[in-house]
Amino acid sequence: MRNARLRIALVALAAFALVLPWSGETPAQSKGTIKIATQSPLSGGQAALGEGIKLGTQLAIDKLKGPLEKMGFKVELVPFDDQAKPDVGVANAANIIADKDILLVVGHLNSGVAIPSSEKYKESQLAMISPANTNPTVTDRNYLNVSRVCGRDDVQGSVGAEFAKSKGIKSAYVIHDKTTYGQGVAEFFKADAEKKGIKVIGFEGTEEKSNFDPILTPIKAKNPDLIYFGGIYDQAAPFFKQAREKGIKATFMGPDGMDSSDLTKIAGTAVKGMFYTSVAGPVTVYKDAAAFAKEYKEKFKKDPEPFAAQAYDSAAIGLKAIEAAAKAAGGKVPSREQVSVAVRKTKHTGLTGAVEFDEKGDPKKALYFVLQVASEDPAKWGENKPIKTLTIAAPPLKKS
């Protein structure tokens, strides 16, 4: 009986072994395979955003791999699920650097995963371009291989505060979601708003996702001019919706985490007319972005998630850099360090604006927009108009 079971197990194992390929070989006819990895949560509560990163990258590879294929390379996407967990991200990172074909990582969603994982990438100078990690620490470590296309929390908060001031806001209530991103933006907003003379009458963090009544009650009593929510739309939308239902009349505002048609899908009329800051221009500003949204929808049957366009740009920059590095290396597969160096030299006009990196990997001059939600209809999200456009350079590296 036990023997039989053991035998079955062995047979199963053998079958499994036969089925799994001895990966790593490349077809003889091509000059080599170049793989681009994504790392983002594909399962768990943040899967939707993580998948946006993966799909954006996939679209970029499908569309832009032409030049590299002409040079004789095969270009492939390898998606990894970091489960939004640092330890899983680091293990994946070790797996990624062990695969010599991988020349670029597009990721992560969570700064908390990106920071320890990029320590691993650094071991082999593997380029990582982040579409979403706005935490200043990501680039402030001044690693050659770590760059990002998105703005920084510190800048976005000030943009919001400046705009609020210009709208004549006198008092603000700041809420955040207790994540690196949300709290980061909220703190910078608060600091700048206070500097500009706006009275911040409340500063509150919450991990709550559905029931905001107890937080809203004191807000209603204090009656601020503006509520700033540092966080992502899936938490902010129910919050704003419940706020309006409770009869709170304050102006709403948030960072680029609000930039999703789901915001209006969830909150409807409650968020009509609210403001959000963003580094990603609306489709009316960037013609390519409209085409991207259309193609994305055709291919994946859904609207692009917030960081999909940034992921697309990250991958596009990466592909360009790999191409340049390959040319410099005489048509051979470039080394990882060469790619990392090339990434920093790449200038690219993408969906979210022109990107050029400074010495530590931040976009040199990022465009920051303040947009207003035009309609409660999710289909009309693309009609949101930029109210104000600012060009702000990333803060220089602090020499310690």
Partner: protein, 424 residues
């Protein structure tokens, strides 16, 4: 196979042969997960093989101390897996004391891990300058070792702190209180960035100092130029190995000690144990403290390994994961906890990931099944997205078909087999 393994000589040949072949396979196919898994399996075969402890001990030591690092230097990913397996093995062994031996269901075990991790993270990084004057921080690297002990102490302290008020509770009340405690620690770590910044909140702490390479001069003397990228993973691996070794040793001694018997008595029947003179309060407190202390030690190591930590690493799901390891392996069984931790970690990091990567490769290669191209698979069905689903399924099936765990505790078995070794 089983018969062969029960005879010393063939067992020796088989296990050594398997180890050799699989290690060679790994070196030949450095990217094949199957090869590495076979290597891991042959370590398991070595464990089951019946041979004199004098042969087995050195053989096991040789495998773990020489062969594994060699395999790991071929593919760094394997070393990373080995390190994480080690971390989880130590965690599972610690929880095994609380849940497996003493029978106290702890759903917030990861809290002690967090206590250890934050102990070193705060003082081994510039973070402590935020609330302590003098600019002394980060502490020099060699402080890592005292902090390893301090982490043990802090976590044990937290264990007693939790244990004291909740000793009157049992069963599921205890479970819910420990769950609450785990959440409290995480929320505290997430929020103690104001009014005084202790933990830097959700932004986490970085850079955390790594342990010092004290053998650096020795390496240079032999003529090896230490490259930190190569040395650190190996170094951490050996540190983890040492901690796991100590943990297993302590567990072993504990199990057969007076205290271990007391725990098991409490687990089986609290009232009877008390009637027999087992000091309930002290025994339970010690169970909490012992279990917690291992988590504290690996916590310190974990923060040094990650260089960055934030509260996301210490969620309730993590506690559940460690509990699943203990129960999958076989409650109260040391080899069970080791195997359970290994299986779950390997499953999570390797098998499920490997499977989805492989399917992805097939798709990229345009493979067709019955004339239907895999490339047409809608993205919704991407297997990478359903790892947790598969894990859940495995948990259920495992519980249905082998509820006692993979390697159940052998105490009963041993008691019946030979009475000699069991004198009190």
């Amino acid at each position: 196979m089983k018969r062969l393994l029960s005879q010393p000589v063939p067992a020796f040949i088989i296990s050594v042969g398997l180890l050799g072949v699989t290690a060679y396979a790994v070196s030949h196919f450095p990217r094949s997960i199957v090869a590495f898994m076979l290597f891991q399996a042959s370590i398991l075969v070595l464990y089951f093989a019946r041979m004199s402890a004098w042969v087995k001990g050195p053989l096991a030591a040789l495998t773990l101390i020489v062969l594994m690092p060699v395999v790991g230097s071929i593919n760094g990913y394997y070393l990373e897996i080995a390190i994480q397996v080690g971390i989880f093995v130590a965690l599972a062994l610690g929880l095994n004391i609380v849940v497996g031996l003493a029978g106290l269901l702890d759903l917030g075990y990861v809290a002690f891990f967090a206590v250890g991790a934050y102990t070193w993270a705060v003082f081994g990084s510039p973070q402590a300058n935020q609330f302590l004057a003098g600019g002394l921080f980060p502490l020099p690297q060699w402080w890592f070792f005292p902090f390893l002990l301090l982490g043990v102490g802090m976590a044990a302290g937290a264990g007693i702190l939790l244990g004291l008020p909740v000793l009157r509770l049992h069963g599921d009340y205890l479970a819910i209180v420990t769950l609450g405690f785990g959440e409290v620690i995480r929320v505290l770590a997430n929020n103690l960035d104001k009014p005084i910044n202790f933990t830097n909140g959700p932004k986490g702490i970085t850079p955390i100092s790594r342990p010092p390479i004290f053998f650096d001069p020795a390496l240079r003397a032999v003529g090896i130029e230490p490259d930190p990228n190569v040395i650190y993973p190996l170094y951490l691996y050996f540190l983890v190995l040492a901690i796991v070794g100590v943990t297993i040793l302590v567990n072993r001694r504990m199990e057969d000690s007076h205290l271990g018997r007391a725990w098991e008595a409490i687990r089986e029947d609290q009232t009877a144990a008390q009637a027999m003179g087992v000091p309930l309060v002290r025994s339970k407190l010690l169970a909490f403290a012992c279990g917690a202390s291992f988590a504290g030690a690996v916590g310190v190591l974990f923060s040094a390994k990650q260089v960055f930590i934030n509260p996301e690493s210490f969620t309730f799901m993590e506690s559940i994961g460690v509990l699943a390891m203990v129960i999958l392996g076989g409650m109260g069984s040391i080899p069970g906890a080791v195997l359970g931790a290994t299986v779950v970690t390997v499953l999570n990091l390797q098998v499920l990931k490997g499977l989805s990567l492989w399917l992805n490769e097939l798709r990229n290669a345009g493979t067709t099944i019955f004339g239907w191209s895999l490339a047409d698979l809608p993205t919704q069905l991407e297997p990478a997205k359903y790892e947790r689903m598969v894990f859940g399924l495995i948990l259920v099936l495992m519980m249905i078909f082998r509820p006692q765990g993979i390697l159940p505790a052998r105490r009963r078995h041993r008691e019946l087999a030979d009475g000699s070794g069991e004198q009190p």
